[in-house]
Amino acid sequence: MEGVDPLFYAHFLFRRRRYTEAADVCSELLAKNPYDKAAWYLKTRCLTEDVRIDETELEEEGLAEVMLDENAVASVPRPGTSFSRPLTDSGSSRGIRPMSKSGRPVSGFARPGTQGARPSTMEAAVRTARSATSRPVTSASGRYVRLGTASMLSGDDGTFIDVSKLDLRKYAFRRGLARALVLYILHVLNDTGKAMELAAYATEAARFQDWWWKAILGFCYHRLNLFRDAEKQLKSSFKQTPSILACMLLAKVYIRMDQPQNAIQCYREGLEKFPDEPVLLAGIARVFEGIGDLTKSVEEYKKLLKVDSTNVEAIASLAADKFYGDQPEIALVFYRRLLQMGVESAELFNNLGLSCFQAQQYDMALGCFERALSMADDEAMSDIWYNIAFVGMSLGNVKLAREALVLAVTCDSTNGEAYNNLGVIEQRKGNSGDARGHYQTAIKVSPHIHEPHYNYALMSLEAGDLQQAYKQVNDALQLYSAHLPSQDLLKELKATLSQHAS
């Protein structure tokens, strides 16, 4: 690339997202002239873009945030007004739609943040949906530190900008440079305090009239968990100049403050200004899913899919909804669409297999499971074995089902559903000792599912252990109060006990 202006070349590389190479070219320029502002600006952008994540969506709540939450207003909120108290009677019931390990209905698309409900105990907080990557202690020590260390390792030239030596007041007046710098501080250095300082100076310099700086200031407050301040800044920014950034951040703040209705309102306002914006539509859909209003969530996902026909999240969520809504043939079409779009994962093949089986396309069902097995990791493997066991049970092949269930618990010894089904099989075979053990394990590893409690109660009743049966059936009803078989069993037990008493 002789004869090309190095700065132009660096721009060329930057536009092609070859950030490391672009940064190298800029470094050479800066070595020649350390005061080359254009090169300094471009290098800052390169280093930032290299590690930047779109933080308007991603949210992973740490242990400390969850357990020491001081923003929640009501300790027992009404259903539908909090993520910790989802609606129970909308969408699919617990009897149909299975639960994730944290006790929420499984979503069609795994995202951080939505997987874990707000747990009530420390022990439940430590246990997350994916046991291999457990919940970080705080969001500060979690992802940001990890990303920070990763970026440090990749950039061997050490720190490019030493913020502590910079006069931030001076930079606040240089509009272009300051914007690049604040993003660098936020994403590369992870120094929210400094970023906020710069943002505060810059807002002041713009006489509180710049919406971007207000949004960044709000973002910084949000990172520091100062949600009320963040809300103020972001609202002001959005009022001044509506932007998707401010809207998304504001909604995120509301979600963190556990105010789903406000978050939805915020998205709706954003949609008035930016009709058919996929990001906002997806946001609404997720919030509805979070409060358990699956019907509305599906409506929003449908709107999203109309706007963006290749949105994986929407397709997967709709597929899951159709599957549990007794229309596996439509779910099958959605999953096939995902496959055509190039998504290849064990989970997808597993879902394809299940949909094929339920839609009676038997010639393709089992092949999909084999495919899924060949590309699965341990966690997914356990679920795939579980589904194979389900197929085995549907075929009446109890031997196959039992073996697959044993493999499921071998891959993941915290698969409570597998233990429960294993218990049922053992009970039917007459090994009540084994069955009892399996039920107890299931209750221990998955305290959110009601089935092992009910099965244990049934078994205890047959064995004549009325006290245990009474205790277990009450536990089952506490977990799922609308479970009819448990209610019937309780009624029967009460009748038996009163008979004994009289």
Binding site: S141, L407, G437
Partner: protein, 617 residues
């Protein structure tokens, strides 16, 4: 013909219950217990039925179609007519009962399959009683034999006829040759005559005598009546002239003229007639709905078999037509309602198999209801699909018939499978509309469940399934076998290397669970062990296997001296994470027994990522 037996002789009369008759309250001393009666007064008030006769030694053996009501003496008072098969004793009787009291008993030939009463002409004479038995319809008037209508014999296969003619002409009977000839004919799909079938079923030594006995008689295949009913001739109420309707084993339905007993209608159905119902009138317009024994419902109208027939999910027990719908009780314990076009309108599942089905026409209230008798002795009264009341008798219901005795006195005659003869009187004050819904299905049942409609896609996929059923099934079978092998292999591997948290050994069964506490770098690993076998096990060792570059564990083994079945034992280990990397690796917990070289069970514990040590300046 049948001979008439007067009331005085025969053992039957002596067996009559001491108490009996209409209006005497609790009929039998076996049922009425003073204390219980008072206790039940309130309940009895709502009950539409009152038991008037309970005769446990009546020794009745019949089906619903063998009971009818007829004014035999033309006195304006109906009698209960029972064609009693008494199959075990081999002598059947036509019994005339005045409610509970046996009045007359007439010996019958063969085993009756049904009895009807009908008027042969408009004159105010006593109605005729007809009993169908074998290939004949025996008609009685004033309880005297009056006429015998014999169905024409069925055509015999020519070859079979020739065979028998040959046997008659031959000097000596060769049973083996005859047997081979008949077997060949049967193999060729020829319907053999009863004589040939009887011959084939006999033991070899008896065959020759049998042939010698029958060979001089002409070989015939008599038709067999399976069901009998009536069809009004001119319409109007049931006191008018009616035509007997017969269904036969070879699938024929005859409608006979009541005056000269000539077949006015003759229709062939695809199978043996099991039960039928006739509605309308012969001279105007009529329908006959007949169920064949293989579960097809055929319609006869205008003397012809209509095109639309439909099949039932199970063999039929009884059929009844109410308005535009057909109520059919089937052997799968369900009462079905079909439209006359064959569309299934609803179904009601019974708690026990249905053994009797009888229509209940209650003229004073203009009601058409259905009575269903169950094998558990329950008699249910249905109006449409709504159950109005139930009754309980001592044993399974064999026959049911509802009818009028005189003016406003309607009774339900029940014969149980043990031969008891029970009569219940319908209380005149019964308000049927108040009974409604009392014991019917809960109101929730009528709330429609939102089931998504079947999509076009589903229909297309079903079509694909239909078109490629064989290849799809073959592919599925192959995949199924492959999967079974795969699973079995993985299972054996997991078991032989004891990777699973449950053991497959017969004598020792354990379950191992593990939980991790803490956020790092120091964790506490809690291992729970449960003995799920029936006996206690002692001297079990625990050992941990882990990546030594990542964790440091002090005392990585444990000893559980004694394990009682069912109790959970917990061992705890301190795990120190020694790596700075943000990664984790699983820890394996294995259980050993001194008698075995391999570990018994293994539990793999997925460790969480340790939090980094943050130094605060």
């Amino acid at each position: 013909m049948a001979d008439v037996q007067s009331t005085g002789d025969g053992g039957d009369v002596g067996n009559q219950p001491q108490q009996g008759g209409v209006g005497q309250g609790e009929g039998s001393s076996r049922v009425g217990v003073g204390g219980r009666k008072t206790a039940n007064t309130k309940r009895v008030k709502d009950e539409p039925w009152q038991k008037v006769v309970d005769d446990p030694i009546a020794d009745m053996d019949c089906t619903s179609s063998c009971i009818t009501f007829a004014d035999v003496n033309n006195q304006g008072e109906n009698k209960v007519i029972v064609a009693n098969m008494q199959f075990a004793e081999g002598k059947s009787k036509l019994q005339v009962l005045n409610c509970g009291e046996l009045q007359q008993s007439i010996h019958l030939f063969g085993f009756p399959c049904g009895t009807i009463s009908f008027r042969t002409s408009d004159e105010a004479s006593a109605p005729a009683i007809a009993v169908a038995s074998g290939n004949a319809l025996y008609v009685f008037k004033n309880l005297k034999p009056f006429y015998k209508f014999i169905l024409p014999d069925l055509p015999l296969d020519e070859q079979e006829l020739e065979t028998w003619v040959g046997v008659r002409r031959a000097e000596r009977v060769d049973a083996d040759v005859l047997q081979n000839a008949l077997l060949t004919l049967r193999g060729n799909g020829v319907k053999l005559s009863p004589r040939s079938l009887k011959f084939l079923s006999l033991p070899p030594e008896m065959r020759e005598d049998f042939v010698n006995m029958v060979k001089t008689q002409p070989a015939t295949t008599p038709a067999v009546i399976t069901t009998v009913g009536t069809l009004a001739k001119l319409g109007g109420d049931d006191t008018g002239v009616a035509c007997p309707v017969l269904g036969t084993e070879d699938g024929q339905v005859f409608v006979l003229n009541p005056t000269n007993f000539a077949a006015v209608v003759r229709v062939s159905l695809p199978g043996p007639v099991a039960c039928m119902t006739a509605s309308g009138a012969l001279d105007t317009d009529y329908r006959i709905h007949a169920c064949t024994r293989d579960g097809t419902v055929c319609h006869i109208k205008g003397g012809k078999l209509a095109d639309h027939s439909f099949s039932l999910p199970a063999p039929a027990v009884g059929i009844d037509r109410i308005g535009k719908s057909l109520l059919i009780s089937c052997a799968d314990s369900c009462l079905y309602c079909f439209s006359t076009k064959g569309r299934r309108l609803w179904q009601v599942k019974m708690p026990a198999p249905i053994t009797a089905h009888s229509p209940m026409v209650y003229r004073p209230k203009m009601l058409r209801l259905t009575l269903i008798g169950l094998e558990n002795g329950e008699i249910r009264l249905y109006s449409d699909k709504e159950m109005l009341s139930t009754l309980k008798v001592d044993s399974g219901v064999a026959a049911l018939r509802f009818g009028r005795l005189w003016r406003d006195s309607y009774v339900l005659v029940t014969v149980t499978q043990e031969g008891h003869y029970i009569v219940h009187r319908l209380k005149r004050a019964t308000e049927f509309h108040q009974l409604k819904g009392v014991k019917g299905p809960p109101p929730e049942q009528h709330i429609r469940i939102k089931v998504p409609t079947k999509t076009k896609l589903y229909v297309d996929q079903t079509q694909r399934e239909k078109d490629n059923a064989v290849s799809m099934h073959q592919a599925f079978r192959r995949d199924h076998y492959v999967l079974q092998v795969l699973v079995a292999r993985k299972y054996v591997k997991a078991m032989t290397s004891a990777l699973a948290p449950t053991s497959a050994l017969e004598d020792v069964k354990f379950q191992v669970g593990a939980a991790v506490q803490g956020i790092g770098p120091t964790f506490r690993l809690l291992v729970t062990v449960q003995n799920t076998s029936a006996t206690a096990v002692s001297d079990i060792r625990l050992a941990l296997t882990w990546d030594e570059s990542m964790y440091d564990i002090q005392n990585p083994s444990g000893l559980i001296p004694h394990l009682v079945p069912g109790v959970t034992y917990t061992e705890s280990f301190n795990v120190q994470c020694i790596t700075q990397e943000m990664v984790s690796s699983p820890i394996k917990v294995q259980l050993y027994s001194p008698q075995r070289s391999l570990p018994i069970v293994t539990a793999v514990v997925a460790m969480p990522v340790s939090e980094p040590v943050v130094t605060v300046r």
